[in-house]
């Protein structure tokens, strides 16, 4: 291994509570959610803001009023004007990409102190006009005479006014034409995952999340959101986990994507969610110089592509490579965060991880990647309960993993997620003794 001084370490991280779309955070702009998490990260770490080299933020919706939302977040976090900032977009793994981009910069020596994170407000995804309407609007606006204006107006049909719903477009794979939920149905069929086991998995996600909330285990990673401008609401806990969730209630849900034969319901999928997360990353040397105690070291990471319609299996593909880079067997991993886009998708991954034939056929390995014990998987609940603000989740799972590793005093942990469009991302952390 290389120079320990150039080890890339995560010092600390925070996130806003994650709130189901249309609830407590719906009126807070993604830039403000991001700024809340970055400001609180700086406060929590007492970071000297003049030490920051760059800010990297993941975001998928790119709100049109905050071009380069990372820069907006940095400026609204009192980070010096001279510190640059940029956005990364790797769909569901955007906020993991922010961390891995930071990793590369620190490891290469080009940066020493970076803030990485992600933000998303899915409640605020806009309704759009059709391109035909936009063309007509342009024609009308630039028409030089009243006659020309009327001519343009005459071409307008009622159907042109039908909005495009950007969130639905975003959740549809543009290559295969399938909705994300459709890909989950495909995996359920391929891996023989019945409705009951999906519902059971969803129930456990809620139960684990509720238990974590009650024990206060998630509190150290969550910062309160004081909801401006009236400040009547102070959000300090995730809005998603349901204590009253039951198998009966889950069973009652109708399949959403394939209404006749399907097994994937909105209740055994992750909800559309608003939230932001960020982490402070440094080279080990810089952390020592500035007197910051690291939380975890990044051992390796990997992204891998696969068929867009099987995107849910992405974690298996990416993890195989990350483990290889880390020279670690799966058995060394004592804690796993595997993002719960859909219950069927997670269960499919578990089967694929444990399958020799899958490994041989799909990954070019001689044997399986290795089983994941359900007992070490998403121990504080996953996205089905906590939610999945697409551009922020990548940082959230790394943060949750690192904090739980510290609590459990274990050595290695894995955070991995599937990525719409047919990719997987995985990152392996090593606990820091201190």
């Amino acid at each position: 291994m290389g120079d320990a001084q150039r080890d890339v370490v995560i010092i600390e991280g925070v996130r806003t509570p994650f709130a189901k779309s249309g609830t407590a955070l719906k009126d807070i702009h993604a830039a403000e959610l991001g700024a809340i998490s970055v400001r609180e990260l700086i406060a929590k770490t007492n970071l000297d803001i003049h030490q920051i080299d760059e800010v990297i933020i993941g975001n998928t919706a790119n709100p049109s009023d905050t071009a380069n939302i990372a820069r907006v977040i940095a400026l609204n976090s009192a980070i010096p004007l001279s510190v640059p900032a940029f956005c990364v977009h790797r769909n569901c793994a955007s906020a993991l990409e922010a961390i891995t981009s930071a990793y590369e910069r620190i490891q290469s020596g080009s940066s020493n102190v970076l803030i990485a994170g992600g933000t998303e407000n899915m409640s605020q995804l806009p309704l759009l006009f059709t391109q035909r309407f936009a063309n007509l609007f342009g024609e009308f606006a630039f028409a030089k005479s009243l006659t020309l204006k009327l001519l343009a107006l005459k071409k307008l049909r009622l159907s042109d006014l039908k909005p495009r719903i950007s969130i639905m477009e975003g959740l549809r794979d543009p290559f295969s034409g399938l909705m994300m939920g459709d890909t989950a149905e495909l995996l359920a069929r391929e891996f023989n995952i019945d409705r009951n086991s999906q519902d059971q998995f969803a129930l456990e996600s809620h139960q684990k999340a509720v238990a974590a909330q009650k024990s206060g285990r998630l509190d150290p990673e969550i910062v309160p959101v004081f909801v401006a401008p009236r400040f009547e609401k102070i959000i300090q806990k995730d809005i998603g986990p349901r204590e009253e969730q039951s198998i009966e209630a889950l069973k009652k849900m109708k399949p959403y994507f394939d209404r006749r034969n399907g097994t994937v319901t909105v209740a055994n999928s992750c909800p559309i969610t608003d939230g932001a997360a960020s982490v402070l990353m440094m080279s080990r040397r810089k952390a020592q110089d500035l007197g910051h105690k690291p939380l975890a070291r990044i051992v390796s990471y990997a992204f891998r592509g696969l068929q867009p319609e099987r995107m849910g299996l992405g974690p298996v593909f990416a993890t195989a490579v990350a483990l290889k880079k880390a020279h670690l067997p799966m058995s060394a991993i004592e804690l796993v965060e595997l993002n719960e886009a859909f219950a069927s998708q997670v269960l499919a991954c578990l089967k694929a991880f444990a399958s020799d034939s899958f490994a041989q056929k799909e990954l070019g390995l001689s044997t399986k990647v290795g089983e994941i014990d359900p007992k070490i998987l998403n121990v504080n609940g996953g996205a089905i309960a906590l939610g999945h603000p697409v551009g922020a989740t990548g940082t959230r799972i790394v943060l949750t993993l690192a904090k739980e590793m510290k609590r459990r005093k274990i050595k290695y942990g894995l955070a991995t997620l599937c990525i719409g469009g047919g990719q997987g991302g995985a990152i392996i952390l090593e606990n820091e003794e201190n």
Binding site: E40, K44, N46, N76, F226
Partner: protein, 717 residues
């Protein structure tokens, strides 16, 4: 100063340029020699070949700041006043009477005489720089525009807009000046001179080099109606009502300006109109009010400079760019809002999320109001509110340059919090307390570095009150004080340095007054009568009982006790003080005080008298003069001790500045001690002695005041 070099005339290609750049002065101002020189140049211009003339300043942020205030100050009588303005009027008339058009290229402050000068020009082009502010602030110095401003402004912008500017002494930004027609065009500062030249050239090329008489023409039905004869009478009577209400008769200048405008508006004979204006100036110019207002102007200008010890001690004040505020109550939230507005990164901490949220909401509502009033943009609001974050823990305190506490006024609680907070802070961070009554020196013992512990006493409401008392504890270092004074300036406040002592300065001087008014209530005076005498006769912004209701009667009682303990019989407490507490009256905060409160102050609560065991007040028991004297002389008596014996402030100016900015002491009286000088120390001591024998030892003249009377010395000269 070379007058010749200060204004220059150059002529090139038929375009003349007159440049103002007063040698050895920071600003351009119209002193007598400068005006004389300007007059010469205008004569020269009249004889020359130029076809257009441009007036421009070479100062970075000033066009012409106005007449020389020093000269106005020295105008002793009506004759001198009239002579001064008439000679100015004649020179300004020359601009109007020249054959060629004159273009004023305005960048920077263009006030008073400067504005009157450009009003006589044919065209006015202004830069859109922040420093460009155009208007007639004369009434703020107790005089009226005397170089033709009262006559010309209404002609250029119309009656309504002119009254708006002149009666309030407003300075307008370029955009507003353009809107009312005070300037013809607004351009970027870098383009100003070129634009003026191009415009001059276009006038020559198109042979439009005759004079232009721009007169206001109303547009739209409403404005036309208001400009009609009857409309004007309505405008004048409304304006008069407004002025009388605002000035309570203490400030004669706006009324005089209104009279002049009413008599001259629409008058064809320029000489007669200007004569009326000069006579008006002659009436207000020599008045004591004007001299006092000029004195206060100098006082406040002086207070903007760092205190003398900062220079002499050679300390480099720390730059404070971040702050923590402990306590999210009214004061804490106000301080946090102010600091965030000024660009500091602020962390507001309190024990519960709910209290923090309330503090954040209080700050937000001030910004929201500023947004509504268009004082800030939505982007500025976003930036300001981003500067303010709240929390319940000490997160972020390890990177702050300053922490200020605004928690409960309890020495033990404060000490505990200070020592706990200090352990979370950088070693070189300054700690400030917003206490209004506790000892800063004692509090500092809880801090590991008492030299970096200081008092920073803000007044309520923080966003509006311009004063901060900077309290120097026994061990507070000069560098700490200098840093805080500099911070006050950054926050747009005036910091007055006061040595740690009971009640500091403003409250110490206010309380003898408030206390005395309770004695007078006990003697049978009516509450509203006393309040009215102080507001309407003397000019305080708020009467004593109204003020006690605002501050909180319980707080007043507590502070009175502190003073009594510290100062003994000089600070005797009227027995009504404890009686009123027993009636459960707290003032505005529980809607029960000397007055009935229903969000705003209503009539006197008549049950107060019987609750206090007083008979219904007989209205005329004490003369108005005695009412004001008993309150104000006790303030003066205390001030003499604070200034000359305890030396808690450095100068009489400090006291006058602090009382004007912190207690609203009427500016037209020139400040507490200038007022004392106008009465005379001998008269005050004699009066105090008489009252001492009649009412008690609280009136006994203090040693320093007695000494002043013996030697017939003044406070302020």
């Amino acid at each position: 100063m070379s007058v010749q070099e200060s204004i220059k005339l150059t002529i090139r290609d038929s375009i003349a340029t007159i440049e103002f750049d007063l040698i050895g002065e920071k600003v351009n101002k119209l002193s007598t020699p400068i005006m004389a020189r300007f007059s010469e140049l205008l004569d020269e211009l009249g004889r020359g070949t130029a076809q257009v003339c441009i007036l421009i300043s070479r100062k970075p942020t000033v066009f012409i700041a106005g007449a020389d205030i020093e000269e106005i100050k020295n105008l002793k009588d009506t004759t001198a006043c009239m002579a001064a303005v008439e000679s100015g009027q004649q020179i300004i008339n020359k601009i109007e009477d020249l054959d060629i058009p004159i273009i004023a290229a305005i960048h920077g402050a263009c006030a008073g005489g400067g504005c009157e000068l450009v009003l006589a020009c044919d065209y006015r082009i202004a830069s859109d720089d922040k420093s460009t502010r155009i208007g007639l602030p004369e009434v703020k110095l107790g005089v009226i525009p005397g170089f033709g401003g009262c006559v010309r402004l209404p002609r250029v912008v119309g009656l309504e807009a002119a009254l708006d500017v002149i009666l309030a002494g407003k300075l307008l930004p370029a955009s507003k000046a353009l809107k009312i027609g005070l300037v013809d065009e607004v351009v970027a500062p870098t383009l100003l001179e070129k634009r003026a030249h191009d415009f001059a050239r276009s006038l020559i090329d198109s042979k439009r080099t005759q004079k232009r008489k721009k007169t206001y023409t109303p547009s739209g039905v409403v404005k036309s109606l208001l400009n009609s004869f009857i409309g004007r009478q309505v405008v004048f009577s409304q304006a008069r009502k407004g002025v009388v209400q605002q000035s309570r008769g203490h400030y004669p200048a706006p009324l005089e300006a209104l009279n002049v405008i009413q008599r001259t508006y629409g008058m064809g004979n320029r000489a007669r109109a200007l004569k009326i204006e000069a006579e008006g100036f002659g009436r207000v110019g020599p008045s004591e009010v004007s001299k006092n207002l000029i004195h206060v102007f100098y006082l406040l200008e002086g207070a903007k400079k760092p205190p003398p010890f900062v220079k002499s001690s050679g300390v480099e004040p720390v730059e404070i760019d971040s702050a923590g505020v402990l306590g999210a109550g009214t004061m804490g939230a106000g301080i946090a809002q102010l600091m965030a507005t000024s660009g500091l990164s602020v962390r507001l901490k309190d024990v519960s999320a709910e209290v923090v949220a309330k503090g954040l909401e209080a700050a937000q509502s001030i910004w929201a109001n500023d947004l509504k009033k268009k004082r800030i943009t939505s982007y500025e609001l976003q930036r300001m509110s981003s500067n303010l974050t709240g929390g319940m823990d000490f997160n972020g305190f390890g990177r702050l340059k300053l922490v200020i506490e605004a928690i409960v006024e309890d020495m033990e609680v404060k000490k505990k919090v200070i020592s706990e907070t200090a352990s979370h802070m950088l070693a070189d961070c300054i700690f400030a307390t917003n206490t209004s009554s506790l000892s800063v020196t004692e509090m500092a013992t809880a801090h590991p570095h008492p030299q970096r512990f200081v008092g920073m006493h803000f007044f309520n409401p923080v966003s509006k009150m311009p004063l901060v008392e900077v309290i120097k504890g026994a061990q507070t270092s000069d560098a700490t004080v200098a840093g805080i004074v500099q911070l006050c300036k950054k926050l747009g406040k005036t910091g007055v340095v006061v040595k740690d002592s009971p009640g500091f300065l403003v409250n110490r001087l206010l309380f003898p007054w408030l206390g005395e008014c309770l004695f007078m209530l006990q003697e049978g005076m009516a509450i509203d009568k006393i309040d009215r005498i102080y507001t309407h006769d003397f000019g305080m912004p708020m009467g004593p009982f109204h003020l006690m209701d605002e501050v909180g009667i319980d707080v007043c009682a507590k502070v009175s006790k502190v003073f009594h303990q510290a100062f003994g019989e000089r600070a005797a407490v009227c027995e009504l003080q404890s009686k009123i507490i027993e009636t459960g009256r707290l003032g505005k905060k529980n809607a029960r005080g000397f007055y009935v409160w229903d969000k705003v102050r209503k009539q006197v609560d008549d049950s107060v008298y019987s609750d206090l065991g007083l008979s219904t007040p007989h209205l005329t028991s004490i003369s108005n003069g005695e009412v004001t004297g008993r309150g104000i002389y006790r303030m003066i008596n205390e001030a003499a001790l604070a200034l000359h014996e305890e030396k808690i402030v450095q100068s009489a100016s400090d006291i006058d500045v602090a009382m004007i900015l912190g207690a609203g002491f009427p500016p037209f009286r020139g400040g507490l001690l200038r007022y004392a000088d106008s009465v005379g120390s001998v008269a005050i001591v004699d009066q105090l002695e008489m009252w001492a024998s009649k009412y008690g030892a609280r009136f006994t003249p203090t040693h320093p005041l007695r000494n002043m009377a013996k030697t017939q010395r003044c406070f302020t000269r």
